[in-house]
């Protein structure tokens, strides 16, 4: 199982970073891949000896409780191949996420997408979808803090062109 750690740097010219990996038994020296576009350094290493270990990740822009819940999920989910353990982990994270502000969930979607974690993306995207369901357009804008960039004329034109058939 290969793991990816993404580090994002601020625009600082010289900086040294020491990375400590717990329990990693990789023999190879991982070489960092620098991406100047998003100022990230990616280090990939194969952790074949240990299928059952997950490095705690740091999640930007969320509080420590949330970060801990996500890491607990990653640990538990990664610790076993058993269906029931993995389902429990997902249910726990799901219950936690349902109690969080939607802004946090949006941040988590971005995080899950960045680290390409499919299970996290499933949970977070589903939560966002559940929040959107059955709301009016105005409510959705309010909840997600999205400004309406249509002019009134544009908006009316779209409503006219795309009438929902069951609308009265």
């Amino acid at each position: 199982m290969s793991q990816t750690v993404v580090l994002e740097q601020n625009a600082v010219e010289t900086q040294s970073i020491t990375l400590k990996f717990d329990g990693c038994s990789s023999d190879a020296n991982p070489s960092p891949i620098v991406n100047p576009e998003n100022q990230s350094i990616t280090i990939k290493f194969d952790d074949q000896a240990s299928n059952h270990h997950t490095i705690p990740v740091s999640i930007p822009n969320v509080d420590s409780e949330t970060e801990a819940a996500v890491n607990e999920f990653l640990r538990k989910h990664g610790s076993s191949d058993e269906e029931s353990v993995r389902t429990d982990a997902m249910n726990d994270l799901w219950s936690f996420i349902e109690r969080q502000e939607i802004g946090t969930v949006v941040v988590l979607v971005k995080f899950a997408s960045d680290v390409k974690n499919f299970e996290l993306l499933e949970i977070f995207c589903q939560r966002v979808a559940d929040v959107i369901a059955k709301k009016t357009v105005e409510e959705v804008r309010e909840i997600f803090n999205i400004a309406n960039d249509f002019t009134p004329e544009e908006e009316q034109a779209i409503r006219d062109e795309h009438r929902w058939a069951f609308e009265d």
Binding site: E101, C125, K134, N148, E161, H162, R163
Partner: protein
């Protein structure tokens, strides 16, 4: 909450809480939108802002157009559905989705569309596999024949309650769409139309197809691969039924509820050679719509089983 515009820029000081919607990739937005029903996508998200409108038109969201779920979830049928205005709105929705799907539309479940949208489907949906167009008074043989040519991958077809589609369409569909394994061609309950009165225009109820045998012949002769067949309230006779059983050797499910012109004996004769047949719904003479009717007519079930008579043939 902090004022954050759609580009995710924080406009005033906030409590350290960051809500950068714009940071989400287009892929994440699609992932989220894909989890919503058609109704939610249409009513809750399309008009939120320009980038959401753009995402709403992505082909990946439009491989399935399921308006049937919305019809079904309404507490009852509405007479409004049978108006030209409603039909136009349905057509417009379907046309939009065909446009956005960019050839990927594989499943359409809708009611009350017309030739106006279906002819576009025939032109632009070569990958269509499931088509359910119940209760479409203005879908005619003309667009069905075009559809047969344009959608050769069709597997499942429901043309129930479409009275302007005749056996001619079934013939062409049989010839050109050789993958059709599920065919539903149910008619409305013409024996007791009470559930439809006041909703379905009476003239339409009366326009119910009479030539059950022609349709059965088309199916029997040209759809040998059929597995699942529904012909509720069809007027087919023993002759038509025989053609089906001769031609559709792989039939597993056959619904003949309300088919008053076939007796139990006819069915037994016809189906004896169908070795894959698991389930047959027989006419059972009268299908009660209410407890009152069950009391009044329930005893007639005896006639069907015990007398196997032709006396009730209409």
């Amino acid at each position: 909450m902090a004022a954050i515009n759609h580009r995710g820029e924080v406009e005033t000081g906030d409590s350290g809480h960051y809500s950068g919607w714009a940071d989400l990739t287009h892929e994440c937005l699609l992932n989220i939108l894909n989890r919503l029903t058609l109704e939610d996508r249409w009513l809750s998200t399309m008009l939120v802002c320009k980038s959401w409108l753009h995402a709403s038109k992505d082909p990946s969201l439009h491989s399935v157009f399921d308006l049937e779920s919305s019809f079904k979830s309404r507490p009852s049928e509405s007479s409004r559905w049978w108006t030209p205005e409603f039909e136009r709105k349905v057509d417009n929705m379907l046309r939009s989705v065909v446009d956005w799907s960019d050839g990927d539309l594989a499943e359409i479940r809708v009611r009350h569309c017309s030739d106006r949208s279906l002819s576009l489907v025939a032109q632009r949906c070569p990958n269509l596999e499931v088509l359910s167009i119940k209760s479409c008074p203005n879908v005619t043989d003309e667009s069905m024949k075009k559809l047969a040519s344009g959608c050769p991958k069709l597997k499942e077809l429901d043309i129930s309650y479409c009275y302007e589609i005749s056996h001619e369409s079934l013939l062409v569909l049989g010839r050109k769409c050789t993958n059709i394994t599920v065919l539903k061609r149910n008619l409305m309950n013409w024996l007791d139309p009470s559930e439809h009165i006041g909703i379905v225009p009476t003239s339409y109820l009366n326009a119910c197809p009479q030539d059950g045998d022609s349709e059965a012949a088309a199916i029997g002769n040209f759809m040998p691969q059929i597995l699942h067949l529904e012909l509720r309230f069809s007027k087919l006779s023993a002759r038509g039924l025989a053609l089906i059983s001769q031609g559709c050797k792989n039939l597993e499910y056959l619904d003949l509820s309300g088919c008053m012109n076939v007796t139990s004996r006819d069915i037994a004769n016809a189906t004896s050679s169908l070795t894959s047949l698991k389930n047959v719904k027989k006419p059972n003479f009268y299908i009660p719509r209410s407890g009152f009717h069950a009391e009044r007519y329930g005893h007639w079930r005896l006639y069907d089983d015990r007398f196997q008579t032709d006396a009730f043939r209409i």
